[in-house]
Each structure stands twice: as structure tokens, then as C-alpha cells.
Subunit: 471 residues, 3 copies
């Protein structure tokens, strides 16, 4: 009888034998390199408290929006998957075993998706499951995972070591007190760094804007209603994050619009934002200007600036009102970096000491905008294939469309960008395989030598993310 | 001497032998499945009257806009191809033999286009032609086809059986009396169903809008000038179509815009539409609202809702004025589903009992919009690669760009969408081959097992279209 | 020891052996065909004066914006690369050996870019360099090139012969006196033709608009402030260019917008343009109308009309103010040909005697707009993959996305479009290889016979550009 093998050793490599052989060789040279995870969304409390994870459902299903969005798209309610509700009148399933079984019964929906690759990797490589996941095996696998999670080896810090993570970034809002990071630093030598994400105090339409502005005022002892003091407050928070290990900021706005406004207009917009009378058009101006201000601050303090734009958040109002944000109903939108980034790049883009990493879910911008811009402006680098494009085809499109114009050295390696801890090694493995396969094509079509391919592979996996993020 | 073989048994399969071998095996499992044709534009009178088709030119050239647009693009006049004129002062070629010869002499223009694949399939597999089509062979082939078409075997109903069509949809406007469908049902057990396409009464800019509104008023005994009664009239027509076998509606509008307007505004727009005083902006509002109304009606009556948007119709005003609509001068336009579909999806998109199938000729929407939306909203499914993208490369791009985010099970298999009867088996065969080849890649890169690939192939070919269209 | 071989004989061919074998065979049939270069930007003075080129840096680095933009993106200043400054207060490196060394030290940045392919081709095939370029070899290679450039064989006219160029186009503004072309025609039989590029007198925002209008008035003895005489002046310049061998015009505007305005409005816009009071919106109208006027003139005089749109010129204001135009800071923008070209195509697009060749850097338009439009309008042809997309992946995307809808015969072969003389044979070689590889795929997937592939390859390489450009 054939061994159950959901993860073939040659998965994701071309079927053409010379390419496969080169891909294997290149992959061999990078597969054991430490993981550099410069951008992600795991919970720092996991590493701070180092408590066991709960169960298969709350560990693998309910926190993973890739997983529950697919089930939801096939008519399975979020309630039945135990997704925590935002409203008290919404009752959700509380039995993790039932939730797990529901997922298992529908695992075939994930055929040919990256989620299946990640899940199979987590189940077999990390959790030691030795049979396929389906309705019939669901209970046994649930029990198996329960046992595993209760073991010492599965405590967050031990998994972190086992995953060979050299450094991992989390992402926190501007007013976060970073207590978890403090505890980690005091107790443990695993390198977890925070990232400064000030959307809560730079986007007047952020639901917590006014509340967090108030907190920031107290934290910094600055009158945030006054434009200069508001900027100073942000500078102080950046310094605090930097003192706690942050090397980067992150900015998640609806569009790529940036602009440079006169100080008087900035004060007016700030006043309206704090009053709650700012219009959508004014909020866009405010955000656009604040990207340039943060660019200037990056020039001062050396924090790397990440920009994630082009997402229509909470497209599904029913789901948002019942379950809140990040429930799989964020949809990419068309982005214009050429006009949008003009003010920002003209302000700080010519400075080689500034690093701006731009992420795009609008793949049309790869060849039209992002690669040409990053292939010119010293400050701009292209972030890896993001979100829905963090997938084998997505990453291959990215390489094929970005490298010819921007080269490898205006890219920054891989980001796992995940909330799902167990998917970290899986995602890095997929990225390493796809890069190896891409480079193998280049070698076999005589565009790179095998020695160059090895060097580029190590750069993409390890050197470029460390350098770009100053880690 | 080598046999003339325009259709190699391995056509469209990868040259890489392990993939080709897997593709052959997968294809073998689906090639003889019955054809499900849930969306198309063949003429129901063919099956109702069951008269012989005329000749090679009127059967294969003049009705096929893919064919005559290519000849026209190379400077060959529509007049010389015998395309029926819309104006009396335009004289067109009436000798089918001459038209056929003109086509044959220029058949090399179709190299590497899907039209050539379809035509060669029709000529060799269906019509039994055993030599290549060119100027020299044109007359002989014309005669051969003439003989074939006159034979019993080539009567429409017999071809329908021979093509192994289990069910085929036609498309009719809202006021169609469906006499042909009635005759078919009374006389024959071939399953031909209609599709309700109410653009003539929901798009105020449709050339027959006012005329058809008058007819609909009479057909339904409703005062269509009154908003509520207008909606009721549409409901009645939907019921009539459903009673005649329709399982779906279809909506072909310029943009993806949807909106929900107050009833008072709806009445005002309706009044202006009937007066002929509605502005283009108001017509867009009217159409956008009517998509939501039809979505609501689909929730009531269970008809599947198809939406085809993003086409600039009759771009060439000279051709339009001389020859009328559908003359190859319809050009795709950029589409925004994310903003456009928001009202519709927020109204009915969370209902798993509603099915909305969206088609896009703007391929940039595959990864950016359509796959993410369909991978979330229970009601939304992704229609197959449409029109210009119903081609080997187009279908492969579709699979590579849609599946990772939406999975296979938010897609609905293949539509032939054709006016050219003989191209039906050819088009389904191309789709089956491309899917087999795509799945073979997945198998050989170890992302699917061969057993899964077989199952997915059968789903894409047979189960998914039947389920999605409720056939 | 292995011979240094940066250019493998099978480079750019698929690793799959049957495709590689077919690609080799197809390439063999076209590799020695003469070069037709119907659009480019080399300096006609080179061929007129036939003086030796200076040195490696001024020949290969400073004129090539692909090269210095990549170095600039990695923090290397334009000053240190000796890029000529536009302002007197900017001092730039003047030692060509230092510039060359800087380039050589950073040559790894170009891995997997087309620039590396072109440079390696120029170094090894043309200049006879027999070792890899890097910091260590830089000086030796500099000396070697210096010797070569001083030799008789490297005089421009001799290189032109050696490159087997049958005809080469340069591009000149409307008021150019074409003295260099006159000298070439008097002295030499190498076929160099000019192209009429009237942006300087049709784009009111062109920096030299008013100056060149004044010159044109004198050249043509027409009162260019009067609309009819302005058009007549342009007609006269077209006639002059045509008399000097031009077969084509070229139009480089920001957008694809075209329109047809009443004569009164044209006069008003012209007056404002000459006064310098025209607004950006009015300038867009003026340009849009002038594209249609030039289309009409093409119908009269038979000059082929090229249109290059969709580029945000001089995006980087710092670089522009210090170094002027064409310094690598031109970035593609989204383009809409469907709406944009409507006026132009409705005016002259149905005339098979008119040829309009459209170029796009917005690849999303390939399948959505350009291929469908060119597959319908007799006058419209698709220009080859342009600028950033003149690359192996870019050209392959172009073929895969254009051919199925437009066929091969609505395309026009390859343009090298270069300012870098030595890259001409390299670029044509890359194009021939990519086309051979594309056709080999078609042969091995049984979509074309090998005989057809040979014929199409010769058409793409030689017959189509000659025919489309009337050369």
C-alpha cells in the first residue's frame, strides 16, 4: 500500500526533468536557511505568555480568513464555523470538534489553492498527521492534534525554534503599549520585533481614530489637536517602537494617493478629523499627506516604510455588522501608483537611505507601474506577491512580471504576512520552491548560470529581506 | 503520403511527456461526456422547423462574427462576404460559392486562433472534409458540404443528437413568445431551454425599449408606466419563461454598476425612459437598479442570474449604420466589479440559494475582483472565459488566475456562447482539452492526485454546469 | 577549462526537448534574414559623419536609459555615471574609465533583465570580449573596446553593414532640416530613413512648441496662427519628410484620447496654444484632434501612422530639473484605447489604405482592447511589445495575448526602438528567438505545422515590418 504523501518532495517544481533537476539543486541550497519573517500578524502574546494553543479548530480554522472565506462562499455560515461574532444577538458554534469536522468534510473545496498546500504542510510536517483530512478522519485527527498541542514541543516558543525563525515581525497600532514585546525581551531570546502601524492615528476614517488620538496625546504629552504637536506625537511613538526593536512602519490605506499640503490646510483637516466632521475627500487628502509625513520621518529615524494599498475593506456589510473586520470580505481594487506615489517619491524617493516597500494586489501594476518605479527610484522597493497572490501561480506571475524591469535587487524577498502561526514554515517553503523553480527555468533557458541562481536564491530567501528591513 | 490531419489527437496538450500523458488520461475520462450547453445563441427555429441548413457560406461564414471580423480587419469588405446589410442602399454578395472561396483563400489569417481550431473541427470531424481548406480546394469543399447539408444526418435535430447534447440553452428577449420552444416541446424530446434576457425592457437605451415595453404591457396586462406594475410585468414574463423551461436569466449591460434607488426615483426614471427623455446617466442608474431588482426576483423564483458586462457595443459607427449590431465591432472595456457589484451583492449575495454568474472580458478582474468576490459571497460564481478569451490561452489564463483564490467549486464549467451550431462540439472539446492539460500540470507538479484530477475534470465538464444552472 | 560563454546557442528556447528542437529549426530559418528596423532613435549624424565612437562608457552606458536607471535605483548617482547634466551647477564624472568600472562592478544587478542579454551580445558578439564583465575585468575590457572602436571595422557605416541592416529608421521632429539624412543619401547607399514626429508642433505642452511653430512658419511660408494654414504647414513638412524617404509618422502623447472638434474651436485652441494660455484640458483636446488630423493626412499622403501613448514622462522632478528628459524616469500609465481611439478609428479606421500602428505599455490592453480593435478595423495594426516589455517575458506575453484575437497578420513584426546602436542586432536576435520559441510551442501542441511556423517566422521577421511600414 502506498504511503500517504500529500507533500511530494518535488511539489511545485516543473515536470520537465532538466528544470526539475535544477530546481531541486537550487532548493537544496536554501531550504534550511533560517526564516526571516519581516512582516506578519501573529499575536505577540503567544510568545509572551507561551501557553499551549487550544485545539485544531481555534488554531487552524477560525483564525484563518483564507479558510473560512472559502467555506462561506459555498454556503456554510460563519456561525457554524464558530467565527466570533461582533454582535451579542449572533450565536456561533462553540464545539471545536464540530467546527473541525465541518472543515474536514469540505476540505476538497481547497483543491489547487495555496490554503491546501499550507494546511497539508501544517498537518503532516508540523503536527505529524499521517492520513488525509476528510469527514471520516476528522475526529481522529482532531484528537491527534489535541494531544500534540498539549505537549511541550508545541508551546509557541518551541515551535518558533523548531521553525528555525531567526526574526519575526508582528504589527501593532500606534498606541499599543507593546507589553507583550517587553515581556518577550525580558524573558526570552527569540527575536520578535514589532512594526509601527499608525493607521489608527493617521486615517481619520479608522473606527478608533478619535479614541486612539486621545490615548496618543496622553502617551506623548502632546496636544494632538495642534498640527505640529500631532506630528511630534507620531515621532515620539515611532521612537518608542524603534526603542522596542521595530525597524519598520506599515501603512494600510485604501488608495496609493499621496500629496503634500500646506500646513494651514493640514491644521484644518486635523481639526475636522478630531471633530468628526471630515468628509471622505478630506480624509483622503489627510491620509495622502500623512504618507508623505511618514516618509519624511523615515528619512529622519531610518524606519523602513511599508505601504499596503488597494483593498476595499468590509465589502460585505452584512458580514461586517455581524462579525466585524477581517472576515474574508476584503476585496482588491484597481490602484494607480504612478500618479498616487508621485508626491511621496518626489519628496523622499531620491534618497538611497530611505526604503519604501510597496505592496500591490492589483497585478496589472507589476509591469506597468511598480517594476518601472522601483527600477528607477532609489528609495522604492517592490514588496512580494501579496495576500491572494501569495500562491504558486501568483508568485510565478510576480517574478515573470517584475524581474525583467526591476531586477532581483529591487525586490525584498518573501513576507508570510500571516495570522496563522503554523502556516509560517509552509508559506516560506512554498516561496522557496517557487523561486527555485523560476530560477531553474532561467538556468535551463541559459539566462543565468547555476552559480548565479544559487546566489540569487540565497539573496531572495535570506539576504534581501534582512537588508531591506534592516534586520 | 501523409494523411491530412488538421486535428492531432494530442493537440493542446503540453509537449512535456509526463504532462501530456496525464492530460491524455484525464481527457479520456471526459471526452465522451454529454454536452451541457447552459448559455448560447443558436436559433431555436432550427430545432423547431428542423429544415436543412443552406450552404457552406451561410452556415459557416456569414453568421460567425469571429470569422468575418478577421477578414474585415485585413481589408476585405463585409459586402463581399455577403453579410446582410441593414440599409437598402448597401448591396452585398449573394453567391455563396464566391463568399466561401473568399474565406478559403484567406484561411491562413486564422493561424493560431481558436476560430481555426473550431473550423477545422467542424470541417473534418462533422462534415467529413479530408483536405486542407484553401483557395484551390474551396470549390470542392463547398460542393462536399452542400451534399452533406442536404442529407438527413445533417438536419438540426440529428446533429443535436450526434453532438451528444444533453441540454442546450438559447437566449430570448423578454417579450419573445417562445413559439419555437413550444413547437420543440410538443414535437421532440431534445432538451432545448430558453433563457430570459430582459435587456429590451430593463435598458432604456435598448433600441427596442419603448416598443417592447408596449408589447410587455399587452402580454402581461400590466400598466408598465407604473413602477410597481412594471416590476410585476417582469415577474410575469419570468414566470412565463420559467414555465417554458428557462432556468436562468441573462443581463448584458455596458458596465457592472448596480445600485438601490428609492421607489420615487425609480418611478421618475421609468417615466423618462418611456417618454424617451432619459439621460445617459439616468439610464445607467435605471439599469443598475434593475440588476438589483432582478437579483431580488431570482431570490423569489429561483432563476439563475447571469451577468455579462464590459463591452463597448457597435464601436464602429460606419459598420453599425450599414450592417447593424453584432458585426464584430464590439470591443471589451475596463470593468470594476468591486464597486459595481456592491449594491447587488449586499442585497442578495449572502443568500446561498441565489446564484449569480458573472462574466468578464476584462481579464485584469480575474485575480483582482472576480475570484476574490466569488471566493467569498455564497451567491456569486465565476462564469467561464468569455468571447475573445474562449481560446486555449484565454482558458489557461482563466484557470491559472481564478482557481487559486476561488477554487474550482466557485466556477461553473464551460459555456460555448455560440451562434455557430457546428462549433459547439469543437468548443466543448477545446475546453475539455485545456482543462485536462491544466489539471495534468497540477498532477505532475504534485498539487493534485490523478484521482482528484479525474473527479475535478468530470465536475468541470458535467456536474458543475448542471448544478450551477439547475439543469 | 570551460570557454566563457555568456550567450548559449540555445538561450531563450524552452528546456523541453521537442520544443527546443523545433525552436532551433525555426530560428535557423530566420536568424540570418536582414534586419528591418522601422522605428528607432539612433542618431543619423553617426551614419552621416561616420566618425569613430568614443569609448565604452559614452557608447554603452551613458546613452542607455535602461542601464543607468537600474544603477540609479540602487543608489548610484547619475553624476557618478557621467550622465550629462541640464544645469550648470551640476558636476558629473568625466572620466569614462571610472564610469565604465562603476557599471562593471554593478553588472550583477542586471541578472535576468533584457539589458544583460543585449550587453552580453554587444560585448561578445560585436566587440569580441572574451571574459565576463565585472569590477576586476573592467579595465581590460575598457581597453579592448577602445581599440576596437578606433578600428575601421567599427565605424558606424561598417557596423551597419556588418549588422546586415536592410533599412533603418530614425525619428526627427517636425522642424528638423534632415541635413544628416541628406548627407547620407548623397554619400552612401546604406538605407537610413527618417520618421516624421510632429509632437513639437502638435502638442502645445511640448517645451519647444512655440519655438518650433515659429520655425515651421518660416520653413513652410505659412501663417501657422491661422488654423487652415497651420494644417497646411504640417502637410508641407510631411511632404518634405516623405521626399527625404520617410514612410511613417510617429506620435507620442500622454493618452490615447482622440476627438474631432469644429474648426472654430480648433482656431481658438491654436490661438491659446501660441499665446501660451492653453489649459491642460484644452491641450488634451488639441492633441486629440491633431491625431485625427494626422490620420486624415495619412489617408492623403500614405505615410504610416505610429502612435505611442501611455507614458508619464519625467515623473521624477528632481532628476528632470538636474538632467532633463529621457533619464529613466518615464513610467507607463493606464491607457484606454477603446474610448480614446474611437474618434480616430471612426474617421479613418475603415480605410484599408490607411495604416495606424498602436503601441501600448499597458499590457492589460493587449487582450481587452488592442487585439480586439486590430482584429476588426482594417487600418489598425498592433505594434510590438514596447519599451519595458521589449524583453523575453514581455514578448511572450504579447504573443500569447495578442495572436488568438488579432492573428499574426494584424501585427507588424519587431521594432528595436533603440538609442543604443550596438543593441540593434542583440534586440532583433532576442525577438527572433522568442518568436521561434513561441511558434515551436504552437507546433509541438499541434496548433501549427512546422511549415506554417517557418512561414510565419519569416513573415514576423521580415515581410510584415516591410509591408506595414511600406519599406
Amino acid at each position: 500500500m502506498m504511503k500517504y504523501q500529500p507533500l511530494h518532495p518535488d511539489r511545485l517544481f516543473s515536470a520537465e526533468l532538466s528544470i526539475r533537476s535544477a530546481a531541486r539543486e537550487i532548493y537544496q541550497g536554501i531550504k534550511d536557511l533560517p526564516i526571516i519573517s519581516p512582516h506578519g500578524h501573529t499575536d505577540p502574546d503567544w510568545y509572551a505568555s507561551n501557553k499551549p494553543f487550544d485545539n485544531a479548530a481555534s488554531f487552524l480554522v477560525t483564525p484563518d480568513h483564507y479558510v473560512f472565506r472559502m467555506l462561506y462562499s459555498q454556503g456554510i455560515s460563519l456561525e457554524s464555523m464558530g467565527i466570533p461574532a461582533a454582535r451579542k444577538d449572533v450565536t456561533v458554534e462553540s464545539d471545536p470538534r464540530k467546527i473541525w469536522k465541518l472543515f474536514a468534510e469540505n476540505f476538497h473545496l481547497f483543491r489547487s489553492t495555496p490554503s491546501r498546500l499550507w494546511m497539508n504542510h501544517a498537518l503532516t510536517e508540523v503536527l505529524g498527521v499521517d492520513e488525509p483530512l476528510n469527514g471520516e478522519s476528522a475526529d481522529r485527527i482532531f484528537d491527534h492534534i489535541e494531544k500534540q498541542l498539549a505537549s511541550e514541543a508545541f508551546l509557541p516558543r518551541n515551535l518558533f525554534r523548531r521553525f528555525n525563525i531567526e526574526v519575526l515581525s508582528t504589527t501593532e497600532f500606534a498606541v499599543d503599549t507593546l507589553d507583550a514585546h517587553k515581556k518577550i525581551q525580558e524573558e526570552w531570546d527569540g527575536r520578535i520585533v514589532t512594526t509601527f502601524r499608525p493607521d489608527d492615528v493617521t486615517n481619520p476614517e479608522h473606527p478608533k481614530f478619535r479614541e486612539h488620538m486621545q490615548i496618543m496625546a496622553e502617551q506623548t504629552d502632546e496636544d494632538v489637536a495642534s498640527w505640529d504637536h500631532y506630528l511630534e506625537a507620531i515621532r515620539k511613538r515611532r521612537r518608542f517602537f524603534k526603542s522596542m526593536g521595530a525597524t519598520a512602519t506599515d501603512h494600510g490605506f485604501p488608495t496609493a494617493f499621496t500629496t503634500l499640503l500646506p500646513a494651514g490646510q493640514c491644521q484644518t483637516l486635523l481639526t475636522r478629523a478630531l471633530e468628526g466632521t471630515i468628509t471622505p475627500e478630506e480624509a483622503e487628502l489627510f491620509r495622502g499627506h500623512m504618507l508623505v509625513e511618514n516618509g519624511r520621518m523615515s528619512r529622519e529615524d531610518g524606519l523602513v516604510m511599508q505601504i499596503h494599498v488597494g483593498c476595499s475593506r468590509d465589502h460585505n456589510q452584512t458580514v461586517y455588522s455581524r462579525f466585524g473586520a477581517d472576515k474574508g470580505c476584503d476585496i482588491p481594487t484597481p490602484v494607480n501608483f504612478v500618479d498616487g506615489f508621485k508626491a511621496l517619491l518626489n519628496e523622499v524617493g531620491n534618497d538611497p537611505d530611505v526604503t519604501i516597500i510597496a505592496f500591490s494586489m492589483d497585478e496589472t501594476t507589476y509591469t506597468r507601474e511598480i517594476a518601472p518605479l522601483a527600477g528607477h527610484y532609489p528609495a522604492l522597493k517592490v514588496g512580494p506577491a501579496w495576500w491572494f497572490h501569495d500562491s504558486p501561480e501568483g508568485m510565478m506571475r510576480y517574478r515573470r512580471q517584475v524581474v525583467e524591469t526591476a531586477g532581483f535587487y529591487n525586490t525584498v524577498g518573501f513576507n508570510d504576512d500571516t495570522r496563522a502561526f503554523l502556516s509560517i514554515p509552509a508559506r516560506h517553503d512554498v516561496a522557496r520552491r517557487v523561486d527555485s523553480n523560476f530560477l531553474a527555468h532561467q538556468v535551463c533557458e541559459h539566462l543565468l548560470t547555476i552559480d548565479e541562481a544559487h546566489e540569487v536564491a540565497r539573496d531572495l530567501t535570506y539576504n534581501l529581506p534582512k537588508k531591506a528591513y534592516r534586520l
